[in-house]
Protein backbone atom coordinates (compact mmCIF):
# COMPACT_ATOMS: atom_id res chain seq x y z
CA UNK A 1 0.00 0.00 0.00
CA UNK A 2 1.24 3.36 -0.95
CA UNK A 3 1.60 5.52 2.11
CA UNK A 4 0.65 9.03 1.40
CA UNK A 5 1.64 11.91 3.62
CA UNK A 6 -1.46 13.60 4.84
CA UNK A 7 -1.01 17.30 4.71
CA UNK A 8 -2.16 18.88 7.95
CA UNK A 9 -2.85 22.58 7.65
CA UNK A 10 -0.53 24.71 9.73
CA UNK A 11 -3.20 26.28 11.91
CA UNK A 12 -4.52 22.84 12.86
CA UNK A 13 -1.03 21.65 13.72
CA UNK A 14 -0.66 24.68 15.94
CA UNK A 15 -4.04 24.20 17.56
CA UNK A 16 -3.32 20.58 18.46
CA UNK A 17 0.23 21.08 19.66
CA UNK A 18 1.19 19.54 22.99
CA UNK A 19 1.47 22.99 24.49
CA UNK A 20 -2.10 23.92 23.67
CA UNK A 21 -3.35 20.53 24.76
CA UNK A 22 -1.79 21.11 28.20
CA UNK A 23 -3.26 24.60 28.44
CA UNK A 24 -6.69 23.38 27.39
CA UNK A 25 -7.12 20.80 30.18
CA UNK A 26 -7.51 23.22 33.11
CA UNK A 27 -8.85 25.93 30.79
CA UNK A 28 -11.78 23.89 29.53
CA UNK A 29 -12.53 22.62 33.05
CA UNK A 30 -12.80 26.16 34.41
CA UNK A 31 -14.79 27.36 31.41
CA UNK A 32 -17.33 24.56 31.83
CA UNK A 33 -17.62 24.50 35.62
CA UNK A 34 -16.87 28.06 36.64
CA UNK A 35 -17.76 30.43 33.80
CA UNK A 36 -20.56 28.60 32.01
CA UNK A 37 -22.70 28.31 35.20
CA UNK A 38 -22.98 32.11 35.31
CA UNK A 39 -24.74 32.04 31.93
CA UNK A 40 -27.37 29.83 33.56
CA UNK A 41 -27.69 32.19 36.53
CA UNK A 42 -28.23 35.09 34.12
CA UNK A 43 -30.75 33.08 32.13
CA UNK A 44 -32.74 31.99 35.17
CA UNK A 45 -32.68 35.50 36.64
CA UNK A 46 -34.70 36.49 33.57
CA UNK A 47 -37.24 33.71 34.01
CA UNK A 48 -40.39 33.72 36.09
CA UNK A 49 -40.96 31.53 39.12
CA UNK A 50 -43.57 28.79 38.73
CA UNK A 51 -44.64 25.85 40.84
CA UNK A 52 -42.83 23.09 38.99
CA UNK A 53 -39.59 21.18 38.88
CA UNK A 54 -37.40 23.08 38.11
CA UNK A 55 -39.27 26.08 39.56
CA UNK A 56 -38.84 28.58 36.71
CA UNK A 57 -40.18 29.19 33.22
CA UNK A 58 -38.02 28.19 30.29
CA UNK A 59 -36.08 30.85 28.48
CA UNK A 60 -36.55 29.50 24.97
CA UNK A 61 -39.94 28.67 23.62
CA UNK A 62 -40.03 26.21 20.75
CA UNK A 63 -42.87 27.20 18.45
CA UNK A 64 -43.83 26.50 14.85
CA UNK A 65 -40.71 27.96 13.32
CA UNK A 66 -37.44 26.20 13.98
CA UNK A 67 -35.95 29.20 15.72
CA UNK A 68 -37.05 29.47 19.35
CA UNK A 69 -38.53 32.67 20.63
CA UNK A 70 -36.91 34.14 23.70
CA UNK A 71 -39.07 34.58 26.75
CA UNK A 72 -37.39 36.76 29.29
CA UNK A 73 -38.67 39.15 31.88
CA UNK A 74 -36.99 41.67 34.11
CA UNK A 75 -39.58 41.07 36.82
CA UNK A 76 -37.10 39.64 39.30
CA UNK A 77 -34.85 42.68 38.99
CA UNK A 78 -37.77 45.09 39.22
CA UNK A 79 -38.91 43.21 42.30
CA UNK A 80 -35.46 43.63 43.90
CA UNK A 81 -35.58 47.37 43.37
CA UNK A 82 -39.17 47.78 44.48
CA UNK A 83 -38.71 46.03 47.82
CA UNK A 84 -36.49 48.00 50.18
CA UNK A 85 -35.45 44.75 51.91
CA UNK A 86 -33.03 43.91 49.12
CA UNK A 87 -31.48 47.36 48.75
CA UNK A 88 -31.07 47.55 52.52
CA UNK A 89 -29.48 44.11 52.53
CA UNK A 90 -26.91 45.18 49.92
CA UNK A 91 -26.16 48.41 51.81
CA UNK A 92 -25.96 46.64 55.15
CA UNK A 93 -23.60 43.99 53.68
CA UNK A 94 -21.45 46.79 52.32
CA UNK A 95 -21.37 48.52 55.70
CA UNK A 96 -20.56 45.31 57.58
CA UNK A 97 -17.90 44.36 55.01
CA UNK A 98 -16.19 47.78 55.18
CA UNK A 99 -16.20 48.03 58.98
CA UNK A 100 -15.03 44.46 59.49
CA UNK A 101 -12.29 44.85 56.86
CA UNK A 102 -10.96 47.90 58.71
CA UNK A 103 -11.13 46.11 62.09
CA UNK A 104 -9.42 43.04 60.65
CA UNK A 105 -6.73 45.23 59.07
CA UNK A 106 -5.91 47.00 62.35
CA UNK A 107 -5.76 43.78 64.40
CA UNK A 108 -4.10 41.80 61.60
CA UNK A 109 -1.46 44.48 61.05
CA UNK A 110 -0.47 44.49 64.71
CA UNK A 111 -0.08 40.70 64.69
CA UNK A 112 1.67 40.46 61.30
CA UNK A 113 4.04 43.30 62.23
CA UNK A 114 4.90 41.65 65.54
CA UNK A 115 5.45 38.24 63.92
CA UNK A 116 7.74 39.84 61.31
CA UNK A 117 9.71 41.58 64.08
CA UNK A 118 9.96 38.51 66.30
CA UNK A 119 13.33 36.73 66.64
CA UNK A 120 13.94 34.52 63.58
CA UNK A 121 13.77 31.25 65.50
CA UNK A 122 10.24 32.08 66.71
CA UNK A 123 8.88 33.13 63.34
CA UNK A 124 8.32 29.64 61.96
CA UNK A 125 6.20 28.53 64.89
CA UNK A 126 4.32 31.85 65.10
CA UNK A 127 3.49 31.65 61.40
CA UNK A 128 2.24 28.09 61.84
CA UNK A 129 0.02 29.30 64.69
CA UNK A 130 -1.51 31.82 62.26
CA UNK A 131 -1.98 29.22 59.51
CA UNK A 132 -3.55 26.56 61.73
CA UNK A 133 -6.91 28.32 62.26
CA UNK A 134 -6.88 29.21 58.54
CA UNK A 135 -7.10 25.48 57.80
CA UNK A 136 -9.66 24.73 60.49
CA UNK A 137 -13.30 24.55 59.46
CA UNK A 138 -15.05 27.87 59.18
CA UNK A 139 -18.26 26.37 60.53
CA UNK A 140 -16.52 24.99 63.62
CA UNK A 141 -14.79 28.28 64.36
CA UNK A 142 -18.07 30.18 64.10
CA UNK A 143 -19.83 27.55 66.20
CA UNK A 144 -17.17 27.92 68.90
CA UNK A 145 -18.30 31.51 69.45
CA UNK A 146 -21.93 30.58 70.11
CA UNK A 147 -21.02 28.93 73.42
CA UNK A 148 -18.96 32.00 74.38
CA UNK A 149 -21.32 34.79 73.39
CA UNK A 150 -24.68 33.32 74.47
CA UNK A 151 -26.56 35.10 77.25
CA UNK A 152 -25.74 32.19 79.60
CA UNK A 153 -22.43 31.71 77.76
CA UNK A 154 -18.85 31.59 78.94
CA UNK A 155 -18.06 35.28 78.41
CA UNK A 156 -20.98 36.44 80.51
CA UNK A 157 -20.24 33.81 83.18
CA UNK A 158 -16.62 34.97 83.36
CA UNK A 159 -17.47 38.67 83.47
CA UNK A 160 -20.12 38.16 86.16
CA UNK A 161 -17.86 35.98 88.31
CA UNK A 162 -15.10 38.60 88.17
CA UNK A 163 -17.66 41.21 89.07
CA UNK A 164 -17.30 43.51 86.06
CA UNK A 165 -20.99 43.24 85.22
CA UNK A 166 -23.96 42.03 87.21
CA UNK A 167 -26.41 41.43 84.38
CA UNK A 168 -25.44 39.34 81.34
CA UNK A 169 -24.65 41.25 78.16
CA UNK A 170 -26.67 40.52 75.05
CA UNK A 171 -24.07 39.95 72.35
CA UNK A 172 -25.36 36.83 70.65
CA UNK A 173 -27.75 37.51 67.76
CA UNK A 174 -26.61 41.10 67.34
CA UNK A 175 -24.42 42.85 64.77
CA UNK A 176 -21.61 42.90 67.34
CA UNK A 177 -21.52 39.10 67.32
CA UNK A 178 -21.36 39.18 63.51
CA UNK A 179 -18.37 41.56 63.63
CA UNK A 180 -16.60 39.35 66.17
CA UNK A 181 -17.27 36.29 64.03
CA UNK A 182 -16.03 37.93 60.82
CA UNK A 183 -12.88 39.40 62.35
CA UNK A 184 -12.11 36.08 63.99
CA UNK A 185 -12.73 33.96 60.89
CA UNK A 186 -10.98 36.22 58.39
CA UNK A 187 -7.99 37.29 60.51
CA UNK A 188 -5.59 34.69 59.03
CA UNK A 189 -6.51 35.88 55.49
CA UNK A 190 -5.35 39.36 56.49
CA UNK A 191 -2.24 38.34 58.45
CA UNK A 192 -0.73 36.05 55.78
CA UNK A 193 -0.36 38.58 52.92
CA UNK A 194 0.66 41.33 55.38
CA UNK A 195 3.33 39.12 56.92
CA UNK A 196 4.65 38.02 53.50
CA UNK A 197 5.08 41.69 52.67
CA UNK A 198 6.47 42.94 56.00
CA UNK A 199 8.96 40.10 56.21
CA UNK A 200 10.64 41.20 52.98
CA UNK A 201 10.80 44.84 53.98
CA UNK A 202 14.20 46.51 53.71
CA UNK A 203 15.03 47.40 57.31
CA UNK A 204 17.83 49.78 56.27
CA UNK A 205 15.15 52.23 55.08
CA UNK A 206 13.71 52.35 58.58
CA UNK A 207 17.18 52.77 60.07
CA UNK A 208 17.87 55.58 57.63
CA UNK A 209 14.68 57.35 58.70
CA UNK A 210 15.64 56.91 62.37
CA UNK A 211 19.21 58.15 61.74
CA UNK A 212 17.84 61.26 60.08
CA UNK A 213 15.86 62.00 63.22
CA UNK A 214 12.45 60.69 62.24
CA UNK A 215 10.38 59.65 65.23
CA UNK A 216 9.35 55.97 65.41
CA UNK A 217 5.65 56.74 64.96
CA UNK A 218 6.29 58.99 61.98
CA UNK A 219 8.63 56.41 60.45
CA UNK A 220 5.91 53.82 60.80
CA UNK A 221 3.33 56.10 59.24
CA UNK A 222 5.44 57.49 56.38
CA UNK A 223 7.76 54.56 55.58
CA UNK A 224 6.43 51.22 56.86
CA UNK A 225 2.77 51.68 55.92
CA UNK A 226 3.39 52.92 52.33
CA UNK A 227 5.91 50.11 51.76
CA UNK A 228 3.45 47.48 52.95
CA UNK A 229 0.62 48.81 50.77
CA UNK A 230 0.59 45.77 48.43
CA UNK A 231 0.12 43.48 51.44
CA UNK A 232 -2.59 45.76 52.86
CA UNK A 233 -4.47 45.74 49.54
CA UNK A 234 -4.22 41.95 49.10
CA UNK A 235 -5.42 41.36 52.68
CA UNK A 236 -8.31 43.82 52.37
CA UNK A 237 -9.54 42.25 49.12
CA UNK A 238 -9.29 38.77 50.64
CA UNK A 239 -11.53 39.91 53.49
CA UNK A 240 -13.86 42.43 51.86
CA UNK A 241 -14.98 40.44 48.79
CA UNK A 242 -16.05 37.19 50.48
CA UNK A 243 -17.54 39.01 53.49
CA UNK A 244 -19.93 40.86 51.12
CA UNK A 245 -21.61 37.53 50.39
CA UNK A 246 -21.05 35.89 53.76
CA UNK A 247 -23.81 33.51 54.85
CA UNK A 248 -22.65 31.28 57.73
CA UNK A 249 -21.61 34.04 60.16
CA UNK A 250 -24.75 36.23 59.97
CA UNK A 251 -26.89 33.11 59.97
CA UNK A 252 -25.40 31.57 63.11
CA UNK A 253 -24.28 34.62 65.10
CA UNK A 254 -26.50 37.41 63.78
CA UNK A 255 -30.02 38.20 64.78
CA UNK A 256 -33.19 38.64 62.79
CA UNK A 257 -32.23 42.31 62.25
CA UNK A 258 -28.84 41.43 60.79
CA UNK A 259 -29.39 41.90 57.09
CA UNK A 260 -26.78 40.47 54.78
CA UNK A 261 -27.26 39.71 51.13
CA UNK A 262 -25.73 36.23 51.31
CA UNK A 263 -28.37 35.27 53.85
CA UNK A 264 -31.12 36.82 51.70
CA UNK A 265 -29.95 34.78 48.69
CA UNK A 266 -29.93 31.60 50.77
CA UNK A 267 -33.45 32.28 52.09
CA UNK A 268 -34.82 33.05 48.63
CA UNK A 269 -33.31 29.89 47.24
CA UNK A 270 -33.83 27.30 49.97
CA UNK A 271 -36.91 28.55 51.84
CA UNK A 272 -38.92 30.64 49.37
CA UNK A 273 -37.80 28.53 46.42
CA UNK A 274 -37.82 31.64 44.24
CA UNK A 275 -34.93 30.73 41.98
CA UNK A 276 -35.27 33.69 39.58
CA UNK A 277 -35.07 36.21 42.44
CA UNK A 278 -32.13 34.33 44.04
CA UNK A 279 -30.40 34.45 40.64
CA UNK A 280 -31.06 38.15 40.25
CA UNK A 281 -29.65 38.75 43.76
CA UNK A 282 -26.53 36.81 42.73
CA UNK A 283 -26.14 38.69 39.42
CA UNK A 284 -26.32 42.10 41.12
CA UNK A 285 -23.89 41.02 43.85
CA UNK A 286 -21.55 39.75 41.14
CA UNK A 287 -21.84 43.05 39.26
CA UNK A 288 -20.88 44.90 42.47
CA UNK A 289 -17.90 42.62 43.05
CA UNK A 290 -16.51 42.38 39.51
CA UNK A 291 -14.29 45.45 39.90
CA UNK A 292 -12.82 44.45 43.30
CA UNK A 293 -12.22 40.91 42.00
CA UNK A 294 -10.38 42.24 38.94
CA UNK A 295 -8.30 44.59 41.09
CA UNK A 296 -7.46 41.66 43.36
CA UNK A 297 -6.45 39.55 40.36
CA UNK A 298 -4.12 42.30 39.11
CA UNK A 299 -2.59 42.78 42.56
CA UNK A 300 -1.97 39.03 42.87
CA UNK A 301 -0.39 38.73 39.43
CA UNK A 302 1.92 41.62 40.23
CA UNK A 303 2.88 40.10 43.58
CA UNK A 304 3.77 36.72 42.10
CA UNK A 305 5.64 37.86 38.97
Amino acid sequence: MNRKEIQIPNFLKKAFSGRNAVISIPYIWLLLLFLLPFIFVLKISLAEPILAIPPYTSFFKWGESWLPTIQGSLDSYLFLFSDSLYINAYLSSLKIAIISTILTLIIGYAIAYSVAKAPTRWRGILLMLVILPFWTSFLIRVYAWIGILKTEGLLNLALISIGIIDKPLTIMNTDLAVYIGIVYSYLPFMILPLYANLEKMDMSLLEAAADLGCRPFKTFWTVTIPLSLPGILAGCFLVFIPVMGEFVIPDLLGGTNTLMIGKVLWTEFFYNRDWPVASAVAIILLALLVVPIMLYQRAQEKAIS
Binding site: L33, F40, V41, I111, A118
Partner: protein, 261 residues
Amino acid sequence: MKKFGNFNIFALVVGFSFLYIPIILLILFSFNESRLVTVWGGFSTKWYVELMHNQGIKDAAWVTIKVAFISSTVATALGTIAGLVMTRFGNFRGRTLFSGMIYAPMVMPEVIIGLSILLMFVALSINRGVFTITLAHITFSMCYVAVVIQSRMSSYDDSINEAALDLGCTPFHTFRLITLPIIMPAVVSGWLLSFTLSLDDLVIASFASGPGSTTLPMKIYSMVRLGVTPEINAVSTILVGLVTLGVIAASIIGRRQKNTN
Protein backbone atom coordinates in the same frame (compact mmCIF):
# COMPACT_ATOMS: atom_id res chain seq x y z
CA MET B 1 14.48 50.13 63.85
CA LYS B 2 13.07 49.52 67.28
CA LYS B 3 13.62 45.99 68.50
CA PHE B 4 10.90 43.47 69.26
CA GLY B 5 9.32 45.29 72.19
CA ASN B 6 6.53 45.23 74.72
CA PHE B 7 3.94 46.31 72.18
CA ASN B 8 4.83 43.33 69.97
CA ILE B 9 4.61 40.86 72.82
CA PHE B 10 1.26 42.36 73.83
CA ALA B 11 -0.05 42.13 70.24
CA LEU B 12 1.04 38.52 69.89
CA VAL B 13 -0.35 37.41 73.26
CA VAL B 14 -3.71 39.13 72.73
CA GLY B 15 -3.88 38.15 69.06
CA PHE B 16 -3.13 34.49 69.58
CA SER B 17 -5.42 34.31 72.62
CA PHE B 18 -8.21 35.67 70.45
CA LEU B 19 -7.44 33.08 67.75
CA TYR B 20 -7.06 30.11 70.07
CA ILE B 21 -9.25 30.54 73.16
CA PRO B 22 -12.51 29.74 71.30
CA ILE B 23 -11.01 26.55 69.81
CA ILE B 24 -9.50 25.49 73.15
CA LEU B 25 -12.82 26.02 74.95
CA LEU B 26 -14.58 24.07 72.21
CA ILE B 27 -12.22 21.13 72.69
CA LEU B 28 -12.40 21.36 76.49
CA PHE B 29 -16.19 21.21 76.58
CA SER B 30 -16.27 18.17 74.29
CA PHE B 31 -15.00 16.26 77.36
CA ASN B 32 -17.72 17.68 79.59
CA GLU B 33 -19.89 15.23 81.49
CA SER B 34 -22.81 17.67 81.56
CA ARG B 35 -25.13 18.16 78.61
CA LEU B 36 -24.90 21.91 79.20
CA VAL B 37 -22.01 23.20 77.15
CA THR B 38 -21.25 26.05 79.52
CA VAL B 39 -21.30 24.26 82.86
CA TRP B 40 -18.41 21.97 83.73
CA GLY B 41 -19.71 18.65 85.08
CA GLY B 42 -16.51 16.64 85.18
CA PHE B 43 -14.33 14.85 82.63
CA SER B 44 -15.98 12.32 80.37
CA THR B 45 -15.56 10.82 76.92
CA LYS B 46 -19.20 9.82 76.67
CA TRP B 47 -19.94 12.24 73.80
CA TYR B 48 -17.32 10.52 71.69
CA VAL B 49 -18.92 7.17 72.48
CA GLU B 50 -22.31 8.61 71.56
CA LEU B 51 -20.80 9.88 68.32
CA MET B 52 -19.74 6.36 67.40
CA HIS B 53 -23.38 5.27 67.63
CA ASN B 54 -24.73 8.14 65.57
CA GLN B 55 -25.36 6.58 62.17
CA GLY B 56 -26.25 9.93 60.56
CA ILE B 57 -22.87 11.43 61.46
CA LYS B 58 -20.99 8.30 60.41
CA ASP B 59 -22.70 8.27 57.01
CA ALA B 60 -22.04 11.97 56.53
CA ALA B 61 -18.40 11.51 57.52
CA TRP B 62 -18.01 8.74 54.96
CA VAL B 63 -19.54 10.87 52.17
CA THR B 64 -17.27 13.77 53.16
CA ILE B 65 -14.09 11.68 53.14
CA LYS B 66 -14.95 10.15 49.76
CA VAL B 67 -15.65 13.56 48.24
CA ALA B 68 -12.57 15.14 49.83
CA PHE B 69 -10.27 12.34 48.69
CA ILE B 70 -11.42 12.25 45.07
CA SER B 71 -11.81 16.00 44.67
CA SER B 72 -8.43 16.84 46.20
CA THR B 73 -6.67 14.29 44.00
CA VAL B 74 -8.25 15.53 40.76
CA ALA B 75 -7.90 19.16 41.88
CA THR B 76 -4.19 18.66 42.57
CA ALA B 77 -3.61 17.25 39.07
CA LEU B 78 -5.59 20.02 37.37
CA GLY B 79 -4.24 22.75 39.65
CA THR B 80 -0.63 21.69 39.14
CA ILE B 81 -1.10 21.91 35.37
CA ALA B 82 -2.83 25.28 35.78
CA GLY B 83 -0.02 26.59 37.98
CA LEU B 84 2.59 25.53 35.42
CA VAL B 85 0.55 27.08 32.60
CA MET B 86 0.44 30.37 34.52
CA THR B 87 4.20 30.49 35.11
CA ARG B 88 5.90 28.57 32.30
CA PHE B 89 3.74 29.04 29.22
CA GLY B 90 4.41 32.73 28.63
CA ASN B 91 1.69 34.70 26.96
CA PHE B 92 -0.98 32.66 25.26
CA ARG B 93 -4.32 33.71 23.90
CA GLY B 94 -6.89 34.02 26.66
CA ARG B 95 -4.33 34.22 29.45
CA THR B 96 -6.08 37.07 31.27
CA LEU B 97 -9.37 35.17 31.31
CA PHE B 98 -7.52 32.09 32.54
CA SER B 99 -5.87 33.88 35.44
CA GLY B 100 -9.20 35.53 36.21
CA MET B 101 -10.84 32.12 36.47
CA ILE B 102 -8.01 31.01 38.80
CA TYR B 103 -8.19 34.01 41.16
CA ALA B 104 -11.92 34.76 41.17
CA PRO B 105 -13.11 31.53 42.87
CA MET B 106 -10.74 32.20 45.78
CA VAL B 107 -12.49 35.41 46.80
CA MET B 108 -15.94 35.07 45.23
CA PRO B 109 -18.69 34.61 47.85
CA GLU B 110 -19.49 30.93 48.17
CA VAL B 111 -23.23 31.50 47.79
CA ILE B 112 -22.62 32.73 44.22
CA ILE B 113 -20.40 29.79 43.27
CA GLY B 114 -22.81 27.31 44.86
CA LEU B 115 -25.92 28.78 43.25
CA SER B 116 -24.37 29.05 39.79
CA ILE B 117 -23.06 25.49 39.66
CA LEU B 118 -26.35 24.14 41.01
CA LEU B 119 -28.42 26.01 38.41
CA MET B 120 -26.25 24.56 35.66
CA PHE B 121 -26.68 21.02 36.97
CA VAL B 122 -30.44 21.51 37.16
CA ALA B 123 -30.66 23.06 33.69
CA LEU B 124 -28.68 20.16 32.22
CA SER B 125 -30.74 17.65 34.25
CA ILE B 126 -27.70 16.21 35.98
CA ASN B 127 -28.77 14.34 39.13
CA ARG B 128 -27.40 16.00 42.22
CA GLY B 129 -25.40 13.97 44.70
CA VAL B 130 -21.89 12.95 45.63
CA PHE B 131 -20.78 13.34 42.01
CA THR B 132 -21.91 16.97 41.69
CA ILE B 133 -20.42 17.94 45.08
CA THR B 134 -17.13 16.41 43.93
CA LEU B 135 -17.20 18.38 40.64
CA ALA B 136 -17.88 21.63 42.50
CA HIS B 137 -15.10 20.97 45.01
CA ILE B 138 -12.58 20.15 42.30
CA THR B 139 -13.38 23.45 40.61
CA PHE B 140 -12.65 25.73 43.55
CA SER B 141 -9.85 23.62 45.08
CA MET B 142 -7.84 23.50 41.86
CA CYS B 143 -7.52 27.30 41.97
CA TYR B 144 -5.86 27.14 45.39
CA VAL B 145 -3.51 24.40 44.16
CA ALA B 146 -2.69 26.51 41.08
CA VAL B 147 -1.71 29.46 43.29
CA VAL B 148 0.43 27.26 45.59
CA ILE B 149 2.25 25.83 42.53
CA GLN B 150 2.54 29.25 40.98
CA SER B 151 4.28 30.73 44.00
CA ARG B 152 6.60 27.70 44.18
CA MET B 153 7.48 28.10 40.49
CA SER B 154 8.40 31.77 40.93
CA SER B 155 11.58 30.65 42.72
CA TYR B 156 12.21 27.73 40.37
CA ASP B 157 15.56 27.55 38.58
CA ASP B 158 14.73 27.30 34.88
CA SER B 159 18.25 26.41 33.81
CA ILE B 160 17.78 22.77 35.00
CA ASN B 161 14.86 22.38 32.62
CA GLU B 162 16.83 23.99 29.80
CA ALA B 163 19.71 21.61 30.46
CA ALA B 164 17.38 18.59 30.27
CA LEU B 165 15.80 19.83 27.06
CA ASP B 166 19.22 20.57 25.53
CA LEU B 167 20.29 17.02 26.31
CA GLY B 168 17.35 15.71 24.31
CA CYS B 169 14.77 15.11 27.02
CA THR B 170 11.19 15.56 25.82
CA PRO B 171 9.10 18.25 27.55
CA PHE B 172 6.92 15.58 29.17
CA HIS B 173 9.90 13.66 30.54
CA THR B 174 11.49 16.89 31.72
CA PHE B 175 8.34 17.57 33.70
CA ARG B 176 8.09 14.06 35.11
CA LEU B 177 11.77 13.52 35.93
CA ILE B 178 12.92 17.05 36.83
CA THR B 179 10.14 19.54 37.58
CA LEU B 180 7.68 17.29 39.40
CA PRO B 181 10.18 15.86 41.94
CA ILE B 182 11.43 19.37 42.70
CA ILE B 183 8.00 20.89 43.25
CA MET B 184 6.62 17.77 44.98
CA PRO B 185 6.34 19.41 48.46
CA ALA B 186 4.21 22.18 46.92
CA VAL B 187 2.07 19.54 45.19
CA VAL B 188 1.61 17.70 48.49
CA SER B 189 0.67 20.86 50.38
CA GLY B 190 -1.71 21.72 47.53
CA TRP B 191 -3.34 18.31 47.99
CA LEU B 192 -3.63 18.78 51.75
CA LEU B 193 -5.10 22.25 51.25
CA SER B 194 -7.71 20.92 48.78
CA PHE B 195 -8.53 18.08 51.14
CA THR B 196 -9.26 20.41 54.06
CA LEU B 197 -11.13 22.88 51.83
CA SER B 198 -13.41 20.06 50.73
CA LEU B 199 -13.70 18.73 54.28
CA ASP B 200 -14.73 22.19 55.56
CA ASP B 201 -17.11 23.34 52.86
CA LEU B 202 -20.71 23.88 53.89
CA VAL B 203 -22.19 26.43 51.49
CA ILE B 204 -21.18 25.02 48.11
CA ALA B 205 -21.94 21.46 49.19
CA SER B 206 -25.41 22.50 50.38
CA PHE B 207 -26.22 23.82 46.91
CA ALA B 208 -24.58 21.01 44.95
CA SER B 209 -25.90 18.10 47.00
CA GLY B 210 -29.04 16.12 46.45
CA PRO B 211 -31.11 13.80 48.60
CA GLY B 212 -29.00 11.18 50.35
CA SER B 213 -25.73 13.01 50.00
CA THR B 214 -25.28 14.91 53.24
CA THR B 215 -21.72 15.92 54.04
CA LEU B 216 -20.36 16.30 57.57
CA PRO B 217 -20.44 20.13 57.57
CA MET B 218 -24.07 20.00 56.37
CA LYS B 219 -24.88 17.58 59.18
CA ILE B 220 -23.05 19.74 61.75
CA TYR B 221 -24.84 22.83 60.45
CA SER B 222 -28.27 21.25 60.89
CA MET B 223 -27.29 20.14 64.41
CA VAL B 224 -26.00 23.63 65.29
CA ARG B 225 -29.28 25.15 64.17
CA LEU B 226 -31.03 22.99 66.77
CA GLY B 227 -28.70 24.10 69.54
CA VAL B 228 -25.25 23.78 71.01
CA THR B 229 -24.50 20.22 72.17
CA PRO B 230 -21.33 18.50 73.44
CA GLU B 231 -21.73 16.05 70.56
CA ILE B 232 -21.02 18.83 68.05
CA ASN B 233 -18.01 19.78 70.17
CA ALA B 234 -16.79 16.19 69.99
CA VAL B 235 -17.09 15.91 66.21
CA SER B 236 -15.47 19.36 65.85
CA THR B 237 -12.59 18.29 68.09
CA ILE B 238 -11.92 15.26 65.88
CA LEU B 239 -11.90 17.46 62.77
CA VAL B 240 -9.64 20.07 64.38
CA GLY B 241 -7.28 17.28 65.48
CA LEU B 242 -7.08 15.84 61.96
CA VAL B 243 -6.40 19.24 60.42
CA THR B 244 -3.72 19.99 63.02
CA LEU B 245 -1.96 16.73 62.23
CA GLY B 246 -2.16 17.56 58.51
CA VAL B 247 -0.71 21.04 58.96
CA ILE B 248 2.15 19.71 61.11
CA ALA B 249 2.86 16.99 58.53
CA ALA B 250 2.86 19.58 55.73
CA SER B 251 5.26 21.86 57.60
CA ILE B 252 7.62 18.94 58.30
CA ILE B 253 7.61 18.01 54.61
CA GLY B 254 8.28 21.66 53.76
CA ARG B 255 11.15 21.91 56.24
CA ARG B 256 12.78 18.71 54.98
CA GLN B 257 12.61 20.10 51.46
CA LYS B 258 14.31 23.33 52.57
CA ASN B 259 17.11 21.37 54.23
CA THR B 260 17.82 19.29 51.13
CA ASN B 261 18.00 22.38 48.92
